[in-house]
Amino acid sequence: MKNKKNIERKTDFIQGNIACAEGAIAAGCNFFAGYPITPASEIAHYMSRKMFEVEGTFIQTEDELAAIANIVGASWGGNKSMTATSGPGISLMLENIGLAVVTETPCVIVNVQRGGPSTGSPSVAFQGDMLQPKFGSHGEYQIIALAPSSPQEMFDFTVEAFNKAEKYRIPVFILADSLIGHMRERVDFPLDDEIILEERKKLKNYQGIHQKIFLDENVAPMPIFGEGLKANITGSTHKEDGFRNVSDPKIMDTAIKRLSNKILKHKEDIIAVEEKYLEDAEVAIFSYGLVYRAVLETVNIARNQGLKVGSFRPITIWPFPQEQVEELSKKVKTIIVCENNLGQIYPFVKAAANGNAKIIFLPPKILGALYKQEEILNKIKEVIS
C-alpha cells in the first residue's frame, strides 16, 4: 500500500494482526524479522509477502533472540525494523532488548499476549506481560509501550510506535493480546498525506572520534552504518562518543540517568490517555487494551442509569502516566482498576493516587474469559451506594 499513492479512502474488514502489519508498512517499515508463534504469526505471514513488495526484507530467524538481534542490526543499517511475537518470544528477546535500549536503537516490538507463564494457553487472551517490557531486561531503563484495543488501533498505534521509536531512538512495544490480534473489525485507512511520519535524527558528517552520538536527553543523532561515520557502538556502559568505560561509577550514573531522562523529560509528548465522562464522575474505571472495550460499554450503560462513573484509559502503559492518574485521583472518590491479570498495573495506580482516592482492583472472575457486564456494573453500584 505504500508503493501506490492512496488517493481514495480505503476501508477494510481485517484482523488486528493484519492491521498491525499494514500500520507498519504505512509507517515505512522495511525490515521484518520473526519466529513463528501463536497468536502473532499472522503478522509474519503478511509481512513475508509485503516486505518484498516495498523493496524491504523479511527473514524468518532461527529463534527470537536472532529476531531482535536482526532488527537491531537492520536499524543500524538504516532500515525501519520490527518484530512480532508473543510472551515466550519476548522472554527470549529480553537481553537484546536491553542492548537496543542502551545502544539507543529505534525498532518496534509487537507482543500479542497469550496465557502464561511458560507455554501457557497460546490462544487465550491475557494481559500477563504488562510489566515485562519495563522490567524484563536487567538493569535500570525506560521504555515506551502502547496498548491497542481494536484492529483500528493496531494500525494507528503501530504507526505511532514507529514514530516514537524514531523520534526517541528506543524500542517501542505494542502490547496487544490474542483477541485483539485475531479480532476482525472495520479498519479505516488514512490517506497517505494524512499519515505524519517522524524520521530519526541522523548524524550527517563524521566529526572525529569523540563525536556525540549517545546520551543526549534531547536525543543524539544516529550514525547510520556504511556512511563513513565510524560509529562506535557498544552494549557496555559508554560515554556520549560511544567509548566504553565500565569501571567509573560516575560514568555509569550519567549514562543511566540520561538514558532514562531522554524518555522521562518528554513524557508530555509521549504519554497519551483517553478520558470519558470524568467531568462529574465519582468513580473512574481504569482499564486498557481489550478490557477497555468491556469497560467503556459498561460505563455507557451505567451513565444511562444515572450513575456518575467515568473511564480512564492509558494508551501509553510505559512510561506510566503517573501525573495523569494522580490528577484523576484528586477528582474522583474511587478508582476501580480492571485488568485481565492478577493486578499488574494496579500497584502503579495505587502509588500514583497516593491515598487521594480509594483504589479497588477488580479482575475478571475467570482470567482470560473476560468480564461479564454485571461484574463491573455491580461493582460500580456497590461503590456508589
Binding site: 532461527e62 536472532a66 536482526n70 543500524w76
Partner: protein, 277 residues
C-alpha cells in the same frame, strides 16, 4: 636526529585507547592479520563494518578499529551482523567471535548463518577456554582438561568448529593458528572477497588461562611453538590415518565452494519477483 616510523596499520585505529588484552594474547596477531588482509585488498575501510560479541575476542574491533563497529551481547554477534548485512548489503561485514560465542551460547546463529550462506566473514578466535571470566571449560576444551569448572578433568568431547561450519553449509572455511600469521592473513583476504558465508577458525593462545591447563602458564612462546609442532596442513593430513592425526591441528583452507546462492542476492531476487506481480 630521531627517525619516527609510523606503523603501517595505524591508520585503521580509532586511537586514544589501549588494547585491554593480557600480554602474550593471540588477539594482537589476529588483529594484525585482519587489518593486513584489508590493507592488501585495498578496500575502503569505511565500507567494512565489524560486529563482535562478549569475551576477549569482542575487543579486537571494539572500539579500536576506526570504522563502524557494533559490539553486542554474548554469542549474538552473527545474528546482529545478519540484520546489518541484510539492511546494508553493500557493506562487507566481519564478525570477530570467540569459541564461547560461536560454539556455546551462539551456536544456533552460527550454524544457521552458514546454512543461509549469508555473505559474512566470521573470524573465530578459538583459545579453547573461557578466558575473560576466569578459565572455565569451553565446548572446545580438549577432553580431560583441568579448568576452573572441571577440577576432576573435563568429561565432554570438544567441538571441531570448522567441521561444524562445513557440515552446516559454510562455503569458505579455513583454520590456522596464531603461529601461521601470514597464511591466516591470506585466508582472511580470500574470505572477505568470497561471496557467501566464510568462517576462519584461529587457534589462539591464552597464556593466562589456557596456559595453566597445559602447563605453559604465561608462556606464549611455548604455546606458539606447540602450535607449530602440532599443525598439519590439510593437504598432508588427507593421507594420514586417524591415529597419526591424534592431537594434531589440521590447518589450511578446508572448503571453498562457489556458485552457491547467497542470501542477500536471493532477497534481491524475491524483490524483483514481488514487483513483477
Amino acid at each position: 636526529m630521531k627517525n619516527t616510523v609510523g606503523h603501517p596499520l595505524k591508520k585503521y585505529f580509532r586511537g586514544e585507547i589501549n588494547y585491554t588484552t593480557c600480554s602474550g594474547c593471540g588477539n594482537g596477531i589476529i588483529s594484525q592479520s585482519i587489518l593486513r588482509a584489508i590493507d592488501e585488498i585495498a578496500i575502503i575501510f569505511d565500507q567494512i563494518a565489524f560486529v563482535s560479541g562478549i569475551g576477549c575476542s569482542g575487543w579486537i574491533p571494539s572500539p579500536s578499529f576506526n570504522t563502524d563497529v557494533l559490539h553486542v551481547t554474548h554469542g549474538r554477534s552473527i545474528a546482529f551482523a545478519t540484520g546489518l548485512k541484510l539492511a546494508a548489503p553493500q557493506m562487507k561485514v566481519i564478525v570477530c567471535a570467540g569459541d564461547g560465542d560461536t560454539g556455546a551460547i551462539g551456536g544456533n546463529h552460527f550454524i544457521h548463518a552458514a546454512r543461509r550462506n549469508i555473505d559474512l566473514t566470521v573470524v573465530c578466535v578459538n583459545n579453547g577456554i573461557f578466558g575473560m571470566t576466569g578459565g572455565q571449560v569451553a565446548p572446545t576444551t580438549p577432553y580431560n582438561s583441568v579448568t576452573t569448572t572441571t577440577p576432576y578433568g573435563s568429561i565432554e568431547r570438544p567441538f571441531d568448529l570448522s567441521n561444524l561450519a562445513i557440515a552446516a553449509g559454510a562455503t569458505f572455511v579455513a583454520r590456522w593458528t596464531t603461529y601461521h600469521a601470514r597464511s591466516l592473513k591470506n585466508s582472511i583476504k580470500k574470505a572477505i572477497e568470497h561471496k557467501g558465508f566464510s568462517f576462519i577458525e584461529v587457534i589462539s593462545q591464552c597464556p593466562v588461562q589456557y596456559g595453566k591447563v597445559i602447563g605453559m602458564r604465561n608462556d606464549p612462546v611455548s604455546m606458539l611453538m606447540h602450535y607449530k609442532e602440532c599443525a598439519v596442513n590439510i593437504n598432508k593430513a588427507k593421507n594420514m590415518s586417524a591415529d597419526e592425526l591424534k592431537d594434531k591441528i589440521i590447518v589450511g583452507e578446508l572448503v571453498e565452494k562457489k556458485n552457491i546462492p547467497e542470501l542477500t542476492d536471493e532477497i534481491k531476487r524475491l524483490r524483483r519477483e514481488a514487483s513483477r506481480k
